[in-house]
């Protein structure tokens, strides 16, 4: 028993290595718990995925270890609170322009990340803050990018829709364009022969873009290691899926590409499905398509209250019955993987982290004016960039 406790303790203290290394996580409080109360893992039934052109799908059960659960919980909660903080900052006019929030969809980005390696690649459209985080960008750098400060992950030059990280290619403003880009990244994966894959995300709105079908064709022809992932949150801006698509079976729209439809509110479902799809791609069988059925609590963006095309009752129903964080919390508490108190403590830590990040994001200075001319060309000797008149010039360094 003691050995088990010590083993559990050391596992928890090490944490899921890569993720723990990326952001500060306090383990001290947890270490004082009485571990006799908690199981080290539990097995859960998960929803069977609808299949297209597949004989077998992902498993219908999933094992969740205690430390995985705590990690997923903390990550999803961090994203949730980060997005709510962004909402606040936007209403205070400290964030400007477009701001597309991800709250409600946390199980997608966290579940996907749990199934792939940091060396794999991810690309999405503009609802990207969650992915920027799971791909390794610190909260303070995300918030400072939103507030347009020099400490932002793109030095304040990108904004909400243009955040990048190692093997994360944004953040793309023109929905649909990121899909051929993702297939190109997958082509590079295959070309280099490094057993890497690319997760290429788009929404139910962009799913009707022609370039996506061009990409399906080439990815299938050339067997590119690409997982096409449609985050179906039921609305493309203000247009419901029924009003936009002749076929709302997004997982079938790849036609000759095998597809699965996944419960995007259940992180274990997302994780298992992604593992299944990743295995398919890595084995050289070509692309796969995943439709994640998910939901966004906010409107399309901060300028959309989100209630003219859907009812408050619908939003409330999803919150009460399908919230991804609540689902995980209930699973963990009901199966002795954690306790209400322990998770509350994580909530407190997360809130503190977000507050500190917001503090940074609101006090960090804006980028210096000289930054305006930089990053036009890479590896170019410094040159002059024209400002609004012939007398205003900026120096450009790459």
């Amino acid at each position: 028993m003691r050995k088990m406790l010590l083993a559990a303790l050391s596992r928890v203290l090490q944490g899921p290595a890569a993720a723990a290394a990326a952001r500060p996580v306090s383990r001290v409080v947890v270490a004082s718990r009485n571990y006799a109360d908690f199981a080290s893992e539990a097995t859960f039934d998960i929803k069977k995925c609808d299949l297209h052109r597949l004989e077998e799908g992902p498993p219908v059960t999933a094992v969740l270890t205690r430390e995985e659960g705590l990690h997923y919980y903390r990550t999803m909660q961090t994203i949730r609170r980060m997005e709510l903080k962004s909402d606040q900052l936007y209403k205070q006019k400290i964030i400007r322009g477009f701001c597309h929030l991800y709250d409600g969809q946390e199980a997608c980005c966290v579940g996907l990340e749990a199934a792939i390696n940091p060396t794999d690649h991810v690309i999405t459209a503009y609802r990207a803050h969650g992915y920027a985080y799971t791909r390794g960008t610190a909260v303070r750098e995300i918030l400072a990018e939103l507030t347009g400060r020099k400490g932002g992950c793109a030095k304040g030059k990108g904004g909400s829709m243009h955040m990048y990280a190692h093997h994360f290619y944004g953040g793309n403003g023109i929905v649909g364009a990121q899909v051929p880009l993702g297939a190109g990244i997958a082509l590079a994966c295959k070309y280099f022969g490094k057993d890497e894959i690319c997760l290429t995300l788009y929404g139910d709105g962009a799913a009707n873009q022609g370039q996506i079908f061009e990409t399906y064709n080439m990815a299938a022809l050339w067997k590119l290691p690409c997982i096409f992932i449609c985050e179906n949150n039921r609305y493309g801006m203000g247009t419901s899926v029924e009003r936009a698509a002749a076929s709302t079976d997004y997982y079938k729209r790849g036609d000759y590409i095998p597809g699965i439809r996944v419960d995007g509110m259940d992180i274990l479902c997302v994780r298992e499905a992604t593992k299944f799809a990743a295995e398919h791609c890595r084995s050289g069988k070509g692309p796969m398509l995943m439709e994640l059925q998910t939901y966004r609590y906010h409107g399309h963006s901060m300028s959309d209250p989100g209630i003219s095309y859907r009812t408050r009752e619908e939003i409330q129903e999803v919150r009460s019955k399908s919230d991804p964080i609540t689902l995980l919390k209930d699973r963990m508490v009901n199966n002795s993987l954690s306790s209400v108190e322990e998770l509350k403590e994580i909530d407190v830590e997360v809130r503190k982290e977000i507050e500190e990040a917001a503090q940074f994001a609101t006090t960090d200075p804006e980028p210096p004016l000289e930054e305006l001319g930089n990053h036009i060309y890479k590896n170019e000797p410094p040159f002059e960039v024209r400002g609004p008149s012939q007398w205003i010039k900026y120096k450009s360094v790459g």
């Binding site: 690649h121 690309i123 290619y169 023109i174 190109g184 070309y191 370039q211 064709n217 022809l221």
Partner: protein
Amino acid sequence: MAAAAGALRRLVRCGPQQGLGRRLRLQLRSGIHGSAPAAVQVTVRDALNQALDEELERDERVFLLGEEVAQYDGAYKISRGLWKKYGDKRIIDTPISEMGFTGIAVGAAMAGLRPICEFMTFNFSMQAIDQVINSAGKTLYMSAGMVPVPVVFRGPNGASAGVGAQHSQCFAAWYGHCPGLKVVSPWSSEDAKGLLKASVRDDNPVVMLENELMYGVPFEMAEEAQSKDFLVPIGKAKIERQGTHVTLVSHSRSVGHCLEAAAVLVKEGVECEVINLRTIRPMDVESIEASVVKTNHLITVEGGWPQFGVGAEICARIMEGPAFNYLDAPAVRLTGADVPMPYAKILEENCLPQVKDIIFAVKKVLNI
């Protein structure tokens, strides 16, 4: 054999130059690499082919994709022999999906490859222009330097012969408008080879605007231009012909027309300075300014439409700079006619600046 070669060399070196093509005579007269014994005749097509071959060999990350580039040897045979040599991995035939394959090329560049994306003509690039400008051109800036995009977009640009309005547009002004892109426009074989090699080695997205009517034209290529490391610097114009009375600035096929006009005008005692821009963006305004300071007269010549064109930009920049005070007459633009390109030969001919139009403009500007 040696005697014949010697005779040929003498023929090449000095007049009378009967028996040589008109274009070649004019090039020799204008003094381009006229007398290097190891110079060879190379068509623009072959120069491009050599450049592709050399860069594919030099760097494994370089690959070519586009319609018909592999098994067809290229719609215009620019990539002849390359698929046989390098295979499916490096030379990729795409379906007719410009937006899709252009995005794929850009994504591949973001992930560390160095793709060359061929547009069968730049008219088709309009379908993919979002990927060229928004994905390729802007990403380095939006990511504050984190994500470079080393991709080359190349293909024939502008008018051909009798291909009609939808296949004849010049995109120099369109792509030249956008910060983040580099845009080059070769005229000679040396330009084509050196600029393509420089573009592939450049870490930025480069749009290379070739010209279909130039593909079959032979030019003399000096010995150093035959080296595998021969590069033409991007962003630097070339003075093709020195002159004192008027500056003719041009790019692509029009450079040849300017040289032909100069050859006619010299008989009347007018010495034209002919500048081959070579690069549209970043434009070498300094070279134009230095020339205008010397000649006091400026004429721009291009195939594209007049409004918001390359010539319009040159005129604006000259006005803003020191050369304005040296102009003895307003700058003049010669451009394509402001209409979609018609098909009938007589109409098409009159939709592009011809040699006679350049001569007329020079005389107007010089008041002779």
